[in-house]
Symmetry: C2
Subunit: 336 residues, 2 copies
């Protein structure tokens, strides 16, 4: 890989703060390891709506409202809503944005979207372009299965390498005012492709991009894995995390006990999640609940959060394309 | 509509410059009004590729290379590539980004994407986060028809209100170094929905959002339509432009001869484009060719460019949803 002479990392000198956050999770996720940390657990997958797509949109509306509320603000105080999701034309985000009188920018980074929105939001706040921005993403098991794989009604068997798309959503409010954990750096990732063609093995497709972004962050900032209380990847799952650990070791970086993957942690083993969770709501919901609480209470001081995306499209795969990955990183500090 | 107490407009104090640009157009577009202004006109719709999707990706690669070249730079000088397109999971942008060793952020704003990428790119440059960023988008008639409407092989009749998705792409390189037209302001739009359900009448779906963003820009900056040499909308087409003119007149703003719409202008009437062109490549290709030349030669000094998007998804429409619109605006000045 050719070296970019400029680094990939931004340092935010004005220290944008996460002044509010909220998470919503589905019933299965509510029964997982982090059930008690989510702000809201849905009683049913359809969230009282006629379709799963409408349920997903409602989840996005709920996290945005919840995060604004938790920041002690009102919707009219939010200058910009940066959001994306996995559905074609990111309808969950766009239709949710329609319910609010807030300017909106749609993003697509597959499961890397939460870090993409936080990084761009931090640029907007750090550059003092706007006062308060909201950053969010959502995913839903049933809409993702229908769109990317098979309708649930078919009852297809799941291959052993597959991950379970997490039904969850997370939102953060960024501002220079107020108090909260601080986004201090962001590293933007490159599209990386090691030639994986199996859409049921997304961890393997994403891990090389995670290695690329993580090493870029270490090199740009002169850090090493031990310098962080936690290094959290989005949703590589069991296989993907193991591949990442191997890839990093080959490059001379040993990921230790401070490394964990949201996809691997979110479900209990008796929930039969195969390789673990995936979907952009997976890490978005954990970052905006359990981990944000850890930062607020200063139980951890420095989290390097790498959201990992498989840039998957059924059309591209049908045309014989491989699955590239992308990973964006944000460094979140307790600020205390 | 509730008023947001903060304005929607950013002023770029460091004046990010458009130091390079490039456009690619399809054969039909090459025979239209702007044929001689495009940097490259494709000889065939498939651009030598096996599928239209691969052709679309190749167009994106070509504009990115061309724009970098026109700025006198090399790919390794570009710190960030901000791009999106109309295809599910924006595969044209993501797979094009894979061909370059440049960090990438995927965007989705439907046909508003060129303004979204320019506005975000201008924030990144103005905030001095990076040195050079590339902003681009692409659309292709044949991939859009297949995805959003019917496969071309069916030979469906086109309703009289329909627009023709433009096969074209445009890319701009932004920097504080070098010379070129300047992005001085950006106004971020809100998702606006007047209840249109006809996916073949996108101009009507988008016009209310264009009104909303245009009025926000005028109010925020204390300007009126006469203050600009040109006010250019993306792809409202004939009906949409007429609706916009009416809506603006109702609000007390008279759009005069300095107003034009890329969708309405791009084809000649003998090309039977019905209501005109659409697709994010429509305005992206004209802004990055004909209009950029006008600015560079100082023949126009101030262009308010409003890229208009219909946030359309086949799934949402099948579930009875209406088509919301979004419009983002950037003010581009000759800087002379």
């Amino acid at each position: 890989m050719k070296e970019n002479p400029f680094n990939q990392t931004i340092e935010f000198k004005n220290k944008p703060k996460i002044i509010g956050n909220y998470s919503v999770a589905g019933p299965k996720e509510g029964k997982g390891h982090f059930g008690k940390f989510f702000h809201y657990v849905m009683k049913s997958d359809n969230f009282g709506e006629a379709t799963y797509e409408k349920a997903e949109k409602k989840m996005m509306e709920k996290v945005l409202k919840g995060a604004i509320n938790s920041a002690g603000l009102k919707p009219e105080n939010i200058n910009l809503f940066l959001a994306g999701d996995l559905l074609n034309q990111i309808i969950s985000s766009s239709y949710a944005a329609r319910s609010f009188d807030i300017p909106y920018l749609g993003l697509f980074g597959a499961c890397s979207t939460m870090a993409e929105s936080l990084a761009l939001g931090a640029c907007i706040i750090d550059g003092k372009f706007f006062e308060n921005v909201a950053c969010a993403t959502v995913s839903h098991f049933s809409t993702a299965e229908r769109q990317f794989r098979y309708p649930l009604e078919l009852g297809n068997q799941r291959p052993p390498t597959s991950q379970w798309t997490v039904t969850a959503s997370g939102c953060s409010i960024l501002s220079l005012n107020g108090s909260g954990p601080v986004i201090t750096k962001a590293t933007f990732g490159k599209v990386t492709d090691y030639g994986i063609t199996d859409v049921n093995n997304m961890g393997a497709a994403m891990a090389p991009s995670t290695m690329s972004t993580m090493i870029a962050h270490f090199k740009d900032t002169g850090t090493k894995p031990d310098d962080f209380d936690l290094i959290i990847t989005g949703d590589l799952g069991k296989i993907g995390s193991e591949i990442l650990i191997d890839l990093m070791e080959d490059k001379g970086f040993k990921l230790g006990v401070n490394y964990c993957d949201c996809g691997q942690m979110i479900y209990k083993s008796e929930q039969n999640p195969l390789m673990g969770g995936s979907g952009c709501g997976c890490s978005a919901s954990l970052i905006n609940s359990y981990f944000m609480e850890k930062l607020k209470k200063n139980k951890v001081k420095k989290i390097l959060y790498l959201a990992t995306g498989a840039l998957l499209s059924t059309t591209a795969i049908q045309q014989g394309e491989t699955v590239p990955g992308i990973t964006h990183a944000v460094l979140i500090e307790s600020g205390k």
